[in-house]
Symmetry: C2
């Protein structure tokens, strides 16, 4: 089954100890698409500016991304400038030019409104809700956000949580929104606000899933918990988009599987983890643009050996 992803299509200028790249193709919806496309048809809902290079449009088309609902606005494309120092764990934002993103109202083509799988990547929660309201029969809805919205639009975000199945957050965001430091406590808090599944991304430390919808529970009377480490690697060139690439692999796999079960969730998380491990090995989409499902499967096999006992 197809998937709709709402998010940003951006130009990213990124500096890491391994290089300095200017105005690369980036953005949450793009990184998500690069991994989700390996499993299903991806329908992108986003806006770009008049300055957006046609070669990037062609690239996305070549990758099979459906661009029917990609709007071209009159202003400038969203531009993010960031730098990663030493440990490459934390991005330092040097500059953000919202451009056409400010005032963006997503438009979705009529025939895409009946698609059942939806991922609301990080944009203003009011924009996320706006798109969701236009979908005819959402079945599996994933939501991502960021600290800015947690701090500035907390009520909108909490209200939106009630309407989604999966909330995807990084550890800082989960802690910040819940006020709990322990991530399982944080996940329980977030669960109590709506989503059946809480997926916490811990960067180099992997991913934690909490849900009380699936058996077996880990502790009596509690939820289903699944925890895996990241793919062990010392080849980290540019981590930008790793979280979105994870989400794309995760949601893509689930959309293809067509059902939510404990084994499907485990597998989806493993695929998301592997997809993200490729993302960090190159700048922007350098690495993920050339991936096939066979590459994911090959690395998944290696990953199993590194984590199973």
């Amino acid at each position: 089954m197809s998937i709709v992803v709402l998010g940003t299509v951006a130009l990213d200028t990124v500096k890491t100890p391994f290089g300095h790249k200017r105005k690369m193709l980036g953005g949450s919806a793009v990184h998500f698409s690069m991994s989700a496309r390996l499993f299903t048809d991806v329908n992108l809902v986003a806006i770009v500016g008049a300055d957006f290079p046609p070669r990037y449009i062609n690239f996305l088309k070549q990758k099979g991304i459906v661009l029917t609902s990609l709007i071209r606005g009159g202003g400038k494309t969203f531009h993010w400038q960031g730098e990663y120092k030493g440990d490459l764990n934390t991005a330092l934002t040097l500059n953000t030019e919202l451009g056409v993103l400010s005032g963006f109202k997503p438009m979705i083509a009529h025939e895409q409104r009946k698609i059942k799988n939806i991922f609301l990547a990080n944009v203003d929660p009011d924009i996320q809700r706006h798109l969701l309201n236009h979908m005819h029969s959402p079945h599996l809805v994933g939501l991502d956000s960021m600290n800015y919205w947690i701090n500035h639009k907390r009520r909108s975000l909490l209200r939106l949580l009630k309407e989604v199945n999966i909330y995807v957050a990084n550890d800082q965001e989960a802690r910040s929104l819940s006020g709990e430091h322990n991530l399982i406590k944080a996940a329980k808090f977030l669960r109590s606000h709506g989503p059946e599944m809480i997926l916490i991304k811990k960067g180099e430390h992997g991913v934690l899933l909490y849900s009380d919808k699936f058996t077996p529970p880990l502790h009596a009377g509690e939820g289903f918990i699944f925890s895996i480490p990241a793919y062990p690697t010392d080849k980290v060139i540019d981590p930008t988009g790793a979280g979105d690439t994870f989400a794309g692999g995760f949601m893509g796999y689930l959309s293809k599987a067509g059902k939510i079960s404990a084994p499907a969730l485990r597998k989806a998380i493993a695929y998301g983890t592997i997809a993200a491990s490729f993302n960090v090995e190159g700048f922007g989409v350098e690495r993920t643009a050339h991936l096939g499902l066979v590459d994911l499967k090959k690395r998944l096999k290696k990953f199993r050996k590194a984590v199973l006992f």
Copy 2:
């Protein structure tokens, strides 16, 4: 096969959001013993002061710990006072009274010197070397240390690394000693200084093992890497001694297995992880003192469900 553990036997005064306990039985060798005893005979090499409560001696005896080489000095027992706030991840040391620990020269009974498995828990690296020099035929030697020795006795520590098989460090220590932030790079650096196996403890994020001695390698031409998350829990009462409890389960299992192989290492790490998960559920040894191997096995089964895909 039996194991010798050199380390501290301490009185710990610990404050966490869940309570304030004074002069509990603690110390690296004690926490190590609580889990290692579930697999093998544990021979403790340490010193206590004249003030050390006889009930703690009786307790250790009851737990089957061999105390032949536990010296009683004339001064005061090593006393650590610490506090954990909010997140319980970082201990704030309020006070350290070394007491008999300053000037400690470990003595080991003649019949214990032929024991082949040795764990050098965190004390001065010169004291660790002193004990190791007295052992007749060390076969499997594990070493732990701490930032204090990394900063103040770096050369002694690096020299000692050449004589051990396994170096156990937490993530901060591995980074600090290697100067590398990426933990796999850090592990490779440490490997190049001697130990065939580098075990990095990441607290709530689990454990990473690096070795180039075992197959299969994760990446061509590289080492064997094994990575597992911590046991997911939101019941953390007092994390003091979790690292030593991990090491005890790990070394205890390997001592019992009698051989080092990739499957044995994986299993040993899983058992260490489970042992540590019990440790944090109570103050001091409250929880680990009453464990049986059956409890570890039961939780290991649950853990498998939470991490396998």
